[in-house]
Amino acid sequence: MKLNKLFKVFAVVIVLVMMLAACKPAATEAPAATEAPVATEAPVATEAAKVYTYADMTVGFIQTGSEGGWRAANTASFKETAETLGLTLKFYDAQNKLENQVSAFRNFIADPEVNVIVLAALETTGWDDVLKEAQAAGKVVVIEDRRIDASSDLYATYIGADFALEGQNAGIEMCKLLEGSESKNVVELVGNVGSSAAKDRGTGFRETMGQCGITVTQSQTANWSATEGKDVMAAFLKADPNIQGVFAQNDEMGLGAALAIKEAGLVPGVDIKIITVDGTAGAFKGMIAGDLNTVLECNPLLAPQVYEAALKALNGEKLPAWIPSQEGIFYQADAEAIFPSRTY
């Protein structure tokens, strides 16, 4: 009898977990208040050989979900630019679920209005099938922000940051910050395990850190979140307080880590240097306050580049497999001056 109940408990827990994994709605509007895409009339079907303009373009955009300021700016960029250029955007928020992304991809392939599919992939692998389907259906596919492991023949181009380069730059910047420091122990706050950003930033960092003798003493995922960044940093500090630098793979985790450092009685930015990646407004405020030392920008405003490339591809132009986005490196000293000009 008791056991029976216990099994019920098990069942409920399992069902619950499965529901969490599966029951997100098929499609939701973007949560942000930024207006949903303005539905313009469907482009008039045109004969082949026609030169496409932005007005003829209907873009199906599959966003990862929402995880912070960077992603919000990225989404906003696509929506606003679409309005400016006068193209039709069908936006899909995958709520950070891979299966949502795949099914949205298939829906866009089946949608006769859509001629361009833009994907910000959640995972690096597993895209070959849908990409082949898209190719067969004659859709132009542009990968943005996150690189995928698929033959570059299967999509028009990839536009996004070079995460490895960001990691390498972080290593070089960390070297500068720790110059003269006796020991160079750096801890790493990793993003979602398995995402290309997390993987490549980590490897890139390790490629350049050796130049000045940095060692990564502890590394742990904080899932891009400030709460976890703080908790993980607190645990790091207790396990081994001999830390000179923090490499946070995004701003949120870095800001969380700064709070943990303060609680431990140390001064972030001074006792322990912090480098983060992304360059959101919060990070700039963090630099102005002196908590963060260096922020590597990972530009979220990719839409103009993406739309331009897609138009070229529609008109039959061959594109390079990767078009890097414009990036920048910002330092504490310049933060206050640059901040007002930031748009995200």
């Binding site: 408990v9 906003a76 709070l259």
Partner: protein, 361 residues
């Protein structure tokens, strides 16, 4: 005779609700004692106490609050999946009330300064807390109405807010992460007075809730409804009102957890605050021995359950478990604890603690 008495009291202990959560917590801590160097180190800095143990309590305070509310809901035979989303809503409301200017695209110079002034808040702190908690309680009330009056299955009813809640939170803040600079608010989640300030909140809230449920008939009625709603109805218990109350309290506590969490990281991180915490809270309650089908509950056991969850997480950070193993290990710990509850294992304990029978009689 004396031996009999000893074994009798042992038997009493092994029958008690608290014993298994405490064993589970002890096991996790013993593991840390053996494998993590200096895990139990405690140091005093500026009169405040720091250490991994304190971290478990502090970081666990949000889950504890959620688990307390969740206990009541689960005891009525329901479940509330929306607590994580309600946390996000409460964090967003609080942040917005303190700092509505960040919503504007461009700000005059004088206001720009104000925005990051640690002493500036738009609404006074008491109003911020009051309104935030009121809105969280409304969220709970909504769940309660769906479950008790619209008779929607709890899992489905609260799933609605679980999904919509984060969207609502983002609508409130216009998708922006609002940073919180106002120090008195940050103190709620961040402050120390010998011990971390959230601990005091948890203790006070726990005592109040305990009094509210155990020194009134509410606890009894919740259990009665959870065991047999029909019999309770025949006995004159207003089952609907009891459920409504449980969900409302659960929402209120989720709101408190949201305040603690946002004050802790000084931002209204609508995307991440409370994400997946509903599961931790549910598991904490289950580890605390409350059955998912409803019935008997123990607030204290749920607190221990929440600490088991948090201790596991904190230990993994301390050990430096590879990132992709973290969730698996959490799952293993939960299964081990639940195995402790199986009747077989309990019988095994009883057999050990019961006196040897004289076969000759």
């Amino acid at each position: 005779m004396t031996q009999n008495k000893v074994s009798l009291s042992l038997r009493k202990i092994s029958d008690s609700k608290l014993v298994f959560p405490i064993i589970a917590l002890a096991l996790v801590l013993i593991f840390d004692l053996i494998f993590v160097r200096g895990f139990f180190n405690i140091e005093i800095r500026d009169g405040n106490i720091y250490g991994n143990l304190i971290d478990i309590l502090r970081s666990g305070s949000t889950v504890i609050l959620l688990a307390l509310g969740m206990t009541l809901v689960i005891a009525t035979g329901g479940v509330d999946l929306s607590v994580g989303a309600v946390m996000a809503i409460s964090a967003s409301v609080a942040a917005l009330m303190m700092n509505p200017y960040v919503m504007a695209k461009e700000l005059p110079e004088n206001l720009q300064k104000l925005v990051s002034d640690p002493n500036f808040t738009y609404a006074p702190l008491w109003a911020v807390l009051l309104v935030t908690l009121f809105i969280s309680a409304l969220c709970g009330l909504w769940n309660g109405l769906l479950v008790a009056y619209a008779k929607i299955q709890p899992m489905v009813a609260t799933l609605i807010l679980m999904i919509a809640g984060r969207g609502i939170a983002q609508l409130i803040t216009n998708g922006i992460r609002i940073q919180i600079f106002y120090e008195p608010y940050a103190f709620i989640g961040n402050g120390w007075a010998v011990l971390p300030f959230p601990l005091y909140i948890v203790v006070v809230v726990f005592v109040l809730l305990w009094i509210f449920t155990r020194k009134t008939s509410i606890g009894l009625f919740i259990e009665s409804v959870g065991v047999n709603a029909r019999s309770s109805f025949f006995s004159g218990i207003d089952e609907k009102k009891i459920k409504l109350l449980a969900y409302t309290i659960c929402g209120l506590f989720a709101g408190m957890a949201g305040i603690l969490a946002s004050a802790n990281i000084k931002t209204s991180d609508a995307n991440n605050i409370g994400a997946a915490l509903e599961l931790d809270a549910i598991l904490a309650v289950v580890i605390g021995g409350t059955l998912m089908v409803g019935g008997r509950f123990s607030l204290f056991a749920s607190v221990i359950g929440a600490l088991v969850m948090q201790a596991t997480t904190t230990s993994m950070y301390a050990i430096g478990v590879p990132a992709n193993a973290v969730l698996t290990i959490k799952g293993v710990v939960v299964i081990l604890v639940l195995l402790l509850y199986s009747e077989q294992v309990r019988n095994f304990f009883r057999r050990i603690t019961s006196p040897k029978k004289d076969v000759a009689t």
